[in-house]
Symmetry: C2
Subunit: 190 residues, 2 copies
């Protein structure tokens, strides 16, 4: 049966190429720079909003998956950067959880504090750690809506063993948001 609502979830070609680049990234800052750079290139290439995400094997520093905001490009409100990264990482390892037995631990790096959808998704995705760049306050100040995320939301994740770090390379990450806003980019959920 042909499907009248076939769904595409794919990276733009430039991001697919970056994702396949070899090399290990050791520090949080090195890894966060991959996410921020993806956000920046996404805007420059005109392929989406100013948000990037990357999932690394926590110990080895191997890049497993990249995600960029693809909401407008693919007409799909689910496709925040983090969501694309979760789905790609799971497709790559062939499991519905990155914490499945036999897999190494994984960390999500996001160029901005995750919205309510992405924070909830992180719980199911199986990442053991989340590292964020720009803060919720940075995003909200630029009129991006982050949804119902509260201090208790983070406590909920912490109680399930998911550690979250905020503000890594914050100024660089916020800079991407500011340039996007200054250039008149679509703030579609303002």
């Amino acid at each position: 049966m042909s499907d009248p609502a076939a769904i595409r979830v794919e990276l733009p070609p430039w991001a697919l190429e970056r994702e396949s680049s070899a090399g290990a990234y050791r520090t949080d800052e090195e890894r966060m720079r991959v996410a921020i750079e993806a956000a920046d290139l996404n805007v420059q290439a005109g392929t989406g909003g100013p948000f990037g995400a990357a999932i690394f094997e926590s110990a080895s520093g191997r890049l497993v998956a990249l995600g960029v905001n693809s909401v407008v490009r693919l007409a799909n409100s689910v496709l925040h950067a983090e969501m694309v990264a979760f789905m790609r990482a799971q497709a790559r390892v062939g499991r519905y959880s990155l914490a499945a037995p036999g897999l190494p631990g994984h960390t999500l790096y996001s160029s901005c504090d995750p919205c309510a959808m992405c924070l909830g998704a992180a719980l199911w995705a199986g990442v053991r750690r989340i590292v964020c760049g720009a803060t919720r306050e940075d995003a909200v100040a630029l009129r991006f809506d982050e949804g119902p995320v509260f201090p208790d939301s983070y406590r909920y994740l912490a109680a399930r063993g998911i550690e979250v770090a905020h503000g890594v390379l914050r100024d660089e990450a916020r800079g991407v948001l500011e340039r996007y806003r200054a250039a008149g980019g679509i703030i579609y959920n303002a």
Copy 2:
């Protein structure tokens, strides 16, 4: 470039067939029954967990998209029933928001109170109303984790014009969860 992490988001054939069935569904109960039946059939067919969702045009009662839990079947933790329904509905109308200008209003019917991811996603999806069957308490009592959803989460949605109704056909909806649990179904996020 071939993609080593190509992502499939598709309904099982039985659900695709049901989604394409014609007819208008007038009352909340009639529409909720579509979501609950999808949850039930998903378990019976062995195509996923006991959760179903359906998106209708609020005024006409036309079924726009169906969603069933597809996490295990497609090895993708994002694919809760509501997420599949959001993505399919947007693919069908070709817009990243179901509240885009020129579109009729849409309502999500979910066989269970949405988890944190799905509730956040509802905010971005553009549905104006959410109708739920089984409650969070029902799900938690059966050891399904709903994530960081708080009374303030619903107030956040209400402040943005999204109305939520709980407990429509609650007993029928809870029955699907109970039968799944009793039969030893995977509770993968317990």
